[in-house]
């Protein structure tokens, strides 16, 4: 009931003020406003917890909560900046994030001297090229082919040229997993901005200049993945009993994942007014985001366990550890893109 009224109010408002020119749509502005309010509340709670943490609460949890809030402010600022600059700006910003994430990934995985030139190709040529291709937005969507085909064949070849056979397969695999997760998968997030979307009734949804409604959809996607991360952690702490893979990760529980998926469904439905999806579609898609986000988290945990680090942030002191924040985003982005492209582009 409440949702419907809100939706009615909002759509009425949007139609009324359609001449108003923002770099993004009115409903995106509403979403951003809502996120800002949430973040302000979160920051205040963090401050309060910090003050009262000495006696009652686990200060490590409070610290990580505050860290998370801070990195969300940063993420939010980046997203908004990207949205204001335009599609190309968003693509560039995501490209920089991917570059930094891959840098963390490769720093953590040992490579040999012979991999140097292959790594140069990967970091300096393929990574930027991937995002250039996303931004060029040709109809054939060539960005979908560069890394999984061209780079995946090129990298093992380049390592072979270096004339060092020790642990050859392992070294090739490390670099390929790195570009697959950090660069290729993540590039599907900004690629959302270029889809010409139709809603489930078959009406064109991406309106305005340069498909500006899509910016709201991207924001929605990032919001759900991030909230889902926290809810998985939170529900796991509250009601979690059964660990999913205790040797990989000691905080992900069956109960946490299920409860988080349910809460994500609710959130997805709540925010369906910013998407081309109906109320129920939005809820289902949020569940998919939640589960793929979990897949990203657990995969990254396994990689970290293998390397014996707890999180990428502690790998190098003072660095925020971008990879820790975007692991779920990386896994959810291609799936979310695929669903949107398959069912909602007419």
């Amino acid at each position: 009931m409440l949702i419907d009224t809100l939706h009615l109010l909002l759509t009425g408002y949007i139609q009324e003020s359609s001449t108003y020119s923002l770099p993004f749509e009115k409903r995106t502005a509403w979403l951003i406003a809502a996120v800002m309010i949430l973040l302000i509340i979160g920051s205040l709670i963090g401050k309060l917890l910090e003050r009262s943490s000495e006696e009652r609460l686990n200060s490590a949890v409070v610290r990580s909560f505050n860290q998370r809030i801070r990195s969300w402010w940063l993420m939010c600022a980046i997203l908004i900046a990207g949205l204001v600059i335009g599609q190309a700006g968003t693509v560039v910003l995501f490209g920089m994030i991917a570059f930094w994430a891959l840098r963390e990934f490769i720093t953590m995985t040992p490579t040999r001297r012979g991999d140097h030139r292959a790594l140069f190709w990967v970091l300096i040529i393929f990574t930027p090229m991937q995002f250039v291709l996303v931004g060029l937005n040709d109809d054939g969507k060539i960005f979908k082919f560069l890394l999984p085909i061209i780079a995946a064949l090129f990298v093992p070849m380049r390592i072979a040229l270096a004339n060092d056979e020790k642990r050859y397969l392992e070294r090739s695999a490390k670099i390929l997993i790195g570009i697959l997760i950090c660069v290729y998968a993540l590039s599907f997030a900004p690629a959302l901005l270029y889809l010409e979307i139709f809603d489930s009734a078959g009406k064109p949804w991406s309106t305005g200049d340069a498909l500006s409604a899509n910016k709201g959809l991207l924001f929605f996607f990032v919001l759900i993945t991030q909230l889902n991360d926290v809810m998985q952690f939170g529900w796991g702490k509250l009601i979690g009993r059964n660990l999913i893979a205790d040797r990989i990760n000691t905080s992900r529980t069956v109960e946490g994942v299920i409860a988080a998926a349910a809460s994500s469904a609710l959130l997805g439905a709540l925010f369906s007014w910013v998407t081309p999806f109906t109320f129920w579609q939005s809820a289902i898609i949020a569940v998919v985001i939640s589960l793929t986000g979990f897949a990203g988290g657990i995969t990254m945990s396994a990689i970290k366990r293998d390397r014996g680090v707890k999180d990428f942030g502690t790998l190098l002191q003072g660095h925020a550890g971008i990879l820790d924040r975007i692991d779920s985003l990386c896994f959810a982005a291609p799936v979310f893109y695929l669903i949107t492209e398959f069912f909602f582009t007419g």
Binding site: R103, I106, T107, F120, L123, I124, L315, L316
Partner: protein, 203 residues
């Protein structure tokens, strides 16, 4: 020159993504010898850039003349970070590198040196050359500060021209001095050990 130095610091930060950790020591403008493991041409630049700005002006990396005097760009870069260039091939009696360093240090500058001599491409550090010992002997007032540079060999290894911009760590440890009655070999191996300890602590 100020502009070039700033650009250099920015470039060093972008290429090597270093983080600096002062472990059991603090930035100080007393005269010091920073001695570090050497695996890459970037070592001197990155360690220098990793120091706080006021110390950067007082710290001079000691570098090989044959490398840094080749070409306009390298010369310009070397003078921007105030490098003290040493000729490795022509060591004269009254112009030994140690005398030159002591003279150039005056009572103002600190130095960055790499006691392994040339860049090392093996896993373990090579043995230290004796320059550090003679510096310690002639100037017992200097603080000898061990520095461990991590990952530089992956960013720009020996024999490569193009760097791969990974992330690196600079760990700066507690100063050591030449002990009373300590032999050259003892001292040099202790100095080498102090860097190895920084590396092991990190892992």
């Amino acid at each position: 020159m100020q502009l070039t130095s700033r650009l250099l610091v920015a470039a060093a930060k972008i290429i090597s993504g270093y983080t600096v950790r002062w472990k059991d020591s603090m930035p100080d403008n007393c005269q010091r010898i920073y001695f570090a493991n050497h695996t890459s041409h970037l070592d001197a630049l990155v360690l220098w850039a990793g120091l706080p700005p006021h110390l950067r002006q007082l710290t001079r990396p000691v570098a090989a003349k044959d490398y840094w005097e080749k070409g306009w760009l390298r010369r310009h870069v070397a003078s921007a970070f105030n490098a003290l260039l040493i000729d490795r091939r022509e060591v004269k009696v009254h112009q030994s590198p140690v005398d030159l360093m002591i003279r150039e240090m005056d009572d103002k500058y600190s130095l960055i040196i790499f006691p392994e001599g040339s860049r090392n491409n093996k896993e373990e550090m090579s043995r230290f050359k004796s320059g550090l010992y003679y510096l310690a002997k002639k100037r017992p007032d200097l603080e000898l500060v061990p520095v461990y540079l991590d990952n530089m060999n992956r960013i720009l290894p020996r024999g490569e021209v193009l760097p791969v911009p990974l992330l690196s760590n600079i760990t700066i440890g507690a100063p050591i001095w030449l002990e009373q009655g300590e032999s050259k070999q003892q001292f040099l191996s202790r100095a080498r050990q102090s860097i190895i300890r920084l590396r092991d602590d990190e892992e």
